[in-house]
Amino acid sequence: MRLELDNAGINIGRRWLLRHASLELRGGLLALVGPNGSGKSTLLRLLGGLWGASEGAVSLGGCDLKSLPRRAISRAIAYTPQDTHLDFAFTVREVVMMGRHPHLGRFEFERGSDRAAVSEAMRRVDVAQLADRFVTELSGGERQRVLLARSLATQAPILLLDEPTASLDVAHALDVLGLCRELAEEGKTIVAAIHDLNLAARFADRVALLCEGRLIACGAADEVLRAESLNRVFGVSADRLFTGDGKPVFVFHRDVC
């Protein structure tokens, strides 16, 4: 399913959080990178229809998001927030089952297919062993994986992930991005805000660079992530090295050259 941004923007009061963003998504893993406050989360919320566009349009399969019923959008696009805080003691299985909400009618009970989707999602994100634990007792990283499982349980073809690796240790961060890679190869469209440029360069098909609410570049990782653009956007100097498998790795310095 095609998701498209056409010259879209969002303002709050008189401040534009994002302007003139155009983007076409049709499969693959797109990494959003940029400094704090550059509009990554805003772009994800815009794509997920959580915030309406103040200018331009967002369209899903050719239809304006604003004209689609919310449940229909939710069946196509799954959004995983950055904030994983949960106050109420639901079990992990209950939280993941919430991902089936867009598929279930008001008076419907969960069907076998819903339970199967939930088990499969928990298995893929490696939280099956936590199924009966309370989410309030989990570590931040475990909660983040549970929320990812909930998004997978929706079986939506498009996944939007806001900092999916923010509170994960190295091993789990690699696992989660590896899973995103797998999902992208299975035909899903994935957009993830990723702070770690090395991870972004290693796993993404395309990288979009944001700065001060503008989408300034979008393309293959080694075209977008260049020393001069990183210098301009982040204000740091970067040495680009290459690992044995040809992937770029960055080493950053504060002294701007």
Binding site: R75, Y79, M98, R150
Partner: protein, 342 residues
């Protein structure tokens, strides 16, 4: 879970029978149980023809309505509390603490002081519903920003609004002093109690419970999602504004109905949903019916206590519930301060 509901239903039955049999004249529980069953079951499954007419009158005309009203008020205040806690995403929200009950009371006082309540049966419940709704909406609009309600803001707004509404009620009462009997009735009723409740009061509150609880239970998935955050709920297909409006109206309806039949009774709407959440978890599919059941049991027990501790005198019901509820509220507040830092 089945065990929980079995035990609470048994407790509900036990306290109902106890509530009816204990009083200035004690009536054997077996007779009470038999008569109640004979009255509420169809055909002649239970035979109660051997019970003396005077006993029957005491059971069915005097005590049964009071016990039924107690159970229904407990259930509806707890269901209102559970829904407010979902609306504010805050476990300390409940009808009396955030001023919804005070709004209902002001509405009812207006209906009584103007004499409307005398002329029109439905004036009292309608006015107290309107009062509850306005008070709840005011607190919601004042305290909630971006779907979040800080505990301190909620409690402070509740305190301020409650005082303001109570002052308005007092003002109206003082204006009615010229008509002594009206003022006395209003004051007595404001303190909260179940004296002289009749079957008509049951009929007033019963439909509100059926609607208010039914509408909420049928949307249990939306309410669960709302607890996990508005953004997530929206992302998973919940129509946030519609759901919140429903919660607002429901909670006001349930509070208004309770206030209309029993005055202001505090803390039930706080204790019962908390106990229910501890026992069976936060999912509304189970939480809403469980809160209602526990609220009914709690108020039946409190009423029983109120009538027996200093027999033949009665303690006001509101005193008993505050005596249990206020320490519990302080405990929650202290625990919350330690864990969540407010």
């Amino acid at each position: 879970m089945a065990l929980f509901f079995a035990i609470t239903l048994i407790l509900l039955a036990v306290f109902t029978v106890l509530g009816v049999s204990v009083g200035s004249v004690n009536i054997p529980s077996s007779q009470v149980a038999r008569l109640l069953l004979a009255r509420i079951t169809p055909f002649d499954w239970f035979d109660a023809s051997d019970i003396a007419p005077s006993q029957r009158a005491i059971i069915w005309q005097l005590r049964a309505p009071r016990v039924a009203v107690a159970a229904l008020v407990g259930a509806s205040l707890s269901a209102a509390g559970a829904q407010m806690q979902a609306l504010f995403r805050n476990p300390l929200a409940s009808p009396d603490i955030i001023g919804t009950s005070a709004g209902g009371a002001l509405g009812a006082v207006i209906a009584m002081a103007t004499g409307l309540a005398m002329r029109e049966m439905l004036a009292l419940p309608v006015f107290s519903f309107a009062g509850s709704l306005l008070a709840l909406f005011a607190v919601y609009a004042l305290t909630t920003r971006g779907g979040r309600t800080p505990v301190a803001t909620l409690l402070l707004a509740g305190v301020a609004l409650s005082s303001l509404l109570a002052a308005a009620s007092s003002f109206l009462i003082s204006m009615t002093w010229v008509r002594w009997e009206v003022a006395q009735e209003v004051t007595f009723w404001l303190m909260g109690g179940l004296d002289n409740r009749q079957w008509t009061h049951c009929l007033m509150i019963l439909p509100c419970i059926v609607v208010g609880l039914g509408a909420a239970i049928s949307r249990w998935r939306e309410l669960d999602l709302l607890l996990t955050g508005e953004e997530t709920a929206l992302a998973l297909g919940v129509e946030i504004e519609k759901t919140k409006r429903l919660l607002l109206v429901n909670a006001a309806l349930l509070t208004g109905a309770s206030v209309a039949v029993s005055g202001v009774i505090g803390f039930v709407g706080l204790i019962a949903p908390h106990a229910a959440r501890l026992l069976i978890g936060p999912s509304h599919r189970r939480l809403l019916p469980a809160s209602a059941l526990l609220g009914a049991i709690f108020l039946l027990a409190a009423d029983l206590l109120a009538r027996t501790v200093i027999r033949p005198e009665e303690i006001r019901l509101g005193i008993i519930t505050a005596g249990c509820g206020a320490p519990f509220f302080l405990f929650l507040l202290l625990r919350g301060r330690r864990e969540a830092g407010y």
